[in-house]
Symmetry: C2
Subunit: 308 residues, 2 copies
């Protein structure tokens, strides 16, 4: 494929890194996954990424000229302007010059980095259901819960790059669960995959995982259904806050827990409708992404395609 | 003042209309106030505005050429693109062609309309404390509670022109007060001037007004202090939602209840800090406007100055 233009995506996660080449239609041409070793020096990890990306390019026999750019998702606070990973809470990496390191190898093409959730939001805008909306809210519901905001078809990052913290909206003011952030009652502490697993554990469901609870719920288990009802209601509370503030065109969700969207959806919608003003907000589409497992990689590539 | 450039502001409120001329520094040169008669046909009311604005122009002896434009605040849902007041809940006026009516008299100059709260936000951006911030949240706490969002130094209106509905964030999920919007537990039903007056009535405080409760609180009355504590805590909850979603540079408040800001502020801040993520959010400045009673008129004028 000597003349095909491609973008490289690097989805640098807390436990694994996924590298791939994505064409302009959002099709993934090749991927390679390997563990993120948080004990590595971050520069060494980026060196590994460079090597593996080089291998991918060789493998599908494209010219280096065909590489339009490189998009990188980072698992934490990013400074997109300078291409720096400011802080990754899980690995403890700080002030990693991601863009500079990559530019030592590829100096002539654009290299852009973003927080992984913002990147997913952008991927949804460029290649997913977000195409239809000028503004929407992206929410990843996984082990944690994060949000990304698209306004006027661009990622809105906020004054200190931390807009869209949907997972930390307080949905339970009295005796709320303690959240990893130190506050109590955050959505993440009541409706994430981790929170669902904790509820399962308290109900002596084994294995106590969000996936198993979902399977039990699909088979009609009342306790499991009730766990998803609770999670759905809390998600509905948080979505009502985001909608009353932002009045987005849609809310689009992804992440592992979103695979059980049909268990959550009626409870999300009911609570949501009871807590937003105006019919136009009450009827905002709440959708599940169609991009699937590789949404992160597509998001990384969209950092380049969105600016083409 | 034959060569001075001025902008006309029309602050069309539910009960009164304020018309004035504002210079490019935000100084008000002349104002004239008269009742808004909601039983009038809206076109007749606009005709009255046209006449009174003409009188103002004559009175300060400026040329009609000096009039740069006209900004109009409307008390309800506005369509700024077409210059239409879509719906004013209090008066019941619908689809009023504000811009067209004014353009019959002034056809050569820009005429812009906006919802009164968005207009206050813009006034704060152009002439107030908002100058320092690229994005901030404006909140009017008065008989009701409304919010306006500035992003990238522009008013953000949302997909259906209803972004910033801070007054309708649910701050009390169990047995919340019934709100005028039909939902329960909205901030407006727990912390507006009207809500404070209702709490006063229940405590047999007379006269049961927000202003009187504030006076009692300043004199150390415990019940009155407790009413303001409650209101402040609820405002803190709502502000935490807006901050976690938007990560604004500041939150700036105005409206009658904001005159008692020092009674509210410690309670707002304490609750707010307990419910936002990240130190940068916890330390967001929460400020009171310095624009005072005529903020609405200055806001109307800023609809023109912001686009100069």
């Amino acid at each position: 494929m000597p003349n095909q233009k491609v973008v490289a995506g690097i989805d640098l996660g807390g436990t694994k890194t996924l590298i791939g080449l994505v064409d302009s239609t959002g099709k993934i041409l090749i991927t390679k996954q390997f563990p993120t070793n948080i004990h590595d020096h971050p520069k060494d990890h980026i060196e590994k990424c460079i090597k593996i990306l080089g291998d991918c390019i060789q493998k599908i026999s494209i010219n280096e000229d065909s590489l339009l750019g490189i998009g990188v998702n980072v698992p934490g606070l990013a400074d997109p302007k300078n291409g720096v990973l400011i802080h990754a809470p899980y690995s403890g990496w700080k002030n990693v010059q991601v863009k500079n390191y990559l530019q030592e190898r590829w100096s002539e093409i654009p290299i852009r980095i973003a927080n992984d959730v913002n990147s997913c939001a952008l991927g949804e805008l460029v290649f997913g259901k977000g195409k239809e909306f000028n503004q929407f809210l992206w929410v990843t519901i996984s082990t944690g819960i994060g949000g990304g905001i698209i306004i006027d078809r661009k990622v809105y990052e906020g004054e200190h790059f931390i807009a869209g913290e949907i997972g930390h909206l307080v949905v339970e003011w009295e005796n709320g669960n303690l959240c990893g952030c130190g506050n109590c009652g955050c959505l993440e502490a009541h409706a994430s995959g981790t929170a669902i697993a904790k509820m399962a554990e308290m109900e002596k469901i084994s294995p106590a995982t969000a996936k198993n609870v979902a399977e039990l719920a699909y088979n009609g288990n009342k306790i499991a259904l009730d766990i998803y009802r609770q999670a759905g209601e809390y998600i509905g509370r948080a979505f009502s806050y985001a909608a009353n503030v932002l009045n987005p065109g849609a809310i689009i969700i992804g992440g592992g827990v979103s695979l059980s969207f049909d268990l959550l959806e009626p409870h999300i919608r009911k609570t949501f409708r009871s807590a937003v003003i105006d019919e136009s907000n009450k009827n905002i589409p709440i959708l599940r992404t169609a991009l699937g497992y590789e949404a992160g990689l597509i998001g990384a590539a969209s950092l380049i395609y969105a600016n083409e």
